[in-house]
Every structure is written in structure tokens, then in C-alpha cells.
């Protein structure tokens, strides 16, 4: 997560309302397929907000007859989805549509295949990244010089806990739980103090469940780290801590 996350915030909002198209849509779908929790959350929050807004008007009595038809149909139909009938119906519809407009169907399938290929490629990339990350984490645990620092939630993040595995040469890893989502335009920043001044070791946003993982690069340590803390910072980043301390050692 960094300042370069824009324009995905905009894409996420527009995607939720179905307005994204063209290259923007393709770029966002590829990005989403990499597992960006921030974007998935934004899309979901925007969909929820739109649903609430759409239902905020006065109710309107539905037309007569619809309920009766539905209830009668449901009573006659088995509880389980009639997948066979649906499948036959869909195939018949596809054949009819194909006869009517083969080019249109082919174009749609090509587009879908293209999208599936992009998603498969992104999934493969994600798997390779996960494997590499797991390898690094195991090495960190094996390293006898690794030490564990616990950070605890401060005002506004009570209950949040982070554990930081830290080495002087190979960097480290932050694992946080129960962190609230930062306000729009803000991210969490991890700071290390090894010399006189703090260095930012990375910025992050937790997922829906308040969990976050951040790899700490070796250059963020390099010397014995004396202090670790997490603050709330603007999305564009900061050279020194400016926001409220969210996680700190006891």
C-alpha cells in the first residue's frame, strides 16, 4: 500500500456502481484479482451504501399478483434448485442466441476467456508471491537472532495487538489483529528507531477482519532497533510520524 494506490480508490467506487469501463475496468479487475483487501472492502462498502441509499425512499406497494405467482411457483417447485431444467433451458437459450447472433456470442466468450486468462495469471502471480513470503517468514523464525516485539492498541484501537519479528540483517515481519480500518485517505505506518530519527518501515491497511501483515525491509532496521510504533498517517506518506500513535509497546 502506498501513494500509488490511487487511482484504484476511484476505480473501486466506480466499479461498485457499474460505471467503470474500457482500460480502467480491465486494469482494476487485474488489480482486484491480486487480492487487494482495501479495494475489495471499498467496493463492498460502496455497494452497501448504495443499497441503503436506494432503500431510503418511501416504500411502494408491489403490484398485485406477483406475490401469488411466486408463492405458487415456490410451492410447486422442489426446494433444491432445478439445475437440470435450468441447464437445459440455458443451453437451449444459448443455441437460439447462437443461431440469432453467433458473432455476438463469440465475442462475449472471447472476452470472458480473456478475463479468465488474466485472472489465472494474477492467481499464479499471487501464489508465487505467497510462496516467497512464506519462505521468508520461515527463515525469519529459524534465525536465532530474531526477536519478538509486542505492540498494543492505544486510544482508538483498544484491543488491537501486533507482533513484530525483527532481525538486524534480514528485516522483519509485522502481524497485526483487531485493527480498525483507517479513515479514508489514511493508512497505518510502522516506524523503527535505530539511530536518532525514526524511519518508516512500511505502510499498510488491515483487511475487513482487522488483520494486517507487513514485511519490514532490511534497510528499515540495519542497526539495533530501540523503538517500534505504528501511527496513522496520510496516504501519501510522511518523513516523520505526524499522526496519532495507534500501536506501541507496553
Amino acid at each position: 500500500m502506498s501513494a500509488s494506490h490511487e487511482p484504484y480508490d476511484t476505480f473501486a467506487a466506480l466499479h461498485a456502481v457499474g460505471a467503470l469501463d474500457g482500460d480502467d475496468l480491465r486494469e482494476f479487475e487485474t488489480h482486484l484479482a491480486t487480492g487487494c483487501a482495501r479495494c475489495a472492502t471499498l467496493v463492498r462498502q460502496t455497494e452497501q451504501a448504495l443499497a441503503r441509499a436506494a432503500m431510503a425512499g418511501p416504500p411502494e406497494p408491489p403490484p398485485g399478483g406477483v406475490r401469488e405467482r411466486l408463492v405458487r411457483r415456490a410451492g410447486a417447485a422442489p426446494g433444491r434448485p432445478r439445475w437440470l431444467a435450468w441447464t437445459v433451458g440455458l443451453i437451449a437459450a444459448a443455441v437460439a442466441a447462437g443461431a440469432f447472433s453467433a458473432a455476438y456470442v463469440a465475442a462475449r466468450y472471447e472476452a470472458r476467456l480473456g478475463q479468465m486468462a488474466r485472472e489465472a495469471s494474477a492467481a499464479k502471480q499471487r501464489l508465487a508471491q505467497s510462496e516467497a513470503a512464506l519462505h521468508d517468514e520461515l527463515n525469519l523464525l529459524r534465525d536465532p537472532t530474531t526477536r519478538l516485539v509486542e505492540l498494543h492498541g492505544q486510544t482508538g484501537a483498544a484491543g488491537a495487538v501486533a507482533r513484530v519479528l525483527l532481525t538486524e540483517k534480514a528485516g522483519g515481519l509485522l502481524l497485526a489483529t483487531k485493527l480498525p480500518l483507517p479513515p479514508p485517505g489514511k493508512v497505518y505506518a510502522l516506524w523503527t528507531v535505530a539511530g536518532d530519527s525514526p524511519r518508516v518501515a512500511g505502510v499498510f491497511v488491515p483487511d475487513d477482519g482487522g488483520r494486517a501483515t507487513l514485511k519490514v525491509p532490511p534497510e528499515a532496521t540495519g542497526a539495533p532497533v530501540r523503538v517500534l510504533s505504528v501511527t496513522l498517517e496520510p496516504e501519501g506518506g510522511a518523513q516523520a510520524p505526524t499522526g496519532a500513535v495507534v500501536l506501541a509497546p507496553r
Binding site: 480508490d9 466506480l14 448504495l50 425512499g57 406475490r67 405467482r69 410451492g75 426446494g79
Partner: protein, 174 residues
Amino acid sequence: MLNGADLIHQMAEGDAEAFARFYDRYAPLIYPLILRILPDAGDAADCLQDVFWDARQRARTYDPARGTAEAWVVTHARARAIERMRGARRRRDSGRRGSPVVPSAASPPGALDRSLLSRVFERLPDPQREALELAYYGGLTQTEITARLKQPLGTVKTRLRLALERLREIVRPA
């Protein structure tokens, strides 16, 4: 009283009574949305019926962790109505080649206008509300809105983003 997620769960088990209760609870709330997108009462009624039948068939796929029952059914209702509206638009376009029809989302149908306009959308600044209504009720993409409003693409994106940010603030649960 059972919540929406419980009703969906029971629907998935084939409970016809739960299905009827689900309809009674949500049909009056989503019917205005469908009418806003499909002003023809016959189309809107057919769409409403499709939405609830779909909900029954898709009940097993509902995951409460991914959103509320309200959002689940409203999102699907809107998608179904837009799909139906686009189908009608394509049929009209093929009937009069060279004069594509853009739905009049910013100028909604007559008598029902005031009662159907979402109170929340009315709290947005006019340029943002206009862009959002074209997208949400009109089913237009950013490119289509750009052509419709004769505004640069960047302006349309910004208006939509700001509208949706404001919307999230307005409807945020207390």
C-alpha cells in the same frame, strides 16, 4: 423476528413460508428502485418477480460476511433492472439504426418522480447527484456519462468518486 440472513438461510432450505416473508419484507422497498429504472409498470412487475425468484434460487450462495441481506437483494434487483433496460434499449436501437437511445436517467418519469427519488441522493450537490443517477439508475458507464454530460472523463470520474464518498458518509451506520 427473523433477520434477513435467517430468512435467506431458510429459503435456501426450500421453506416456502420464509420465501413469502422475505418477499413481504423487501418487495415494497425494492419495487421503487425497479420502477425508477423501468418506468413501465408491466416491465417493473416482471422484473420484480424475476428478482425474487432469482433470490430463492441463489439463496445458497448468500454469504452474510460479504454484506447484509438488504444489500444482497437490492444489488441484484438493480442489476436485473439495468439488464432489462439495456435489452430494451438494444431492441430500440436496432429498430432505428444510427440514433442510439440514451436513457433519460436525469429526467425521471412524471407522476412518480418525487416519491421515487431517493432522499439520500437529494443530499448530494447537483453535479454529483446527476452523474450518480446516470450511473446508478441509468446504468451508464463513465464513458457514456461523459458523452451525455459533455464533460471531460476526469471530471465525471471525480464527480462519481466524490458522490460515492459522500454517500458512504451519509448512510454510515451510527
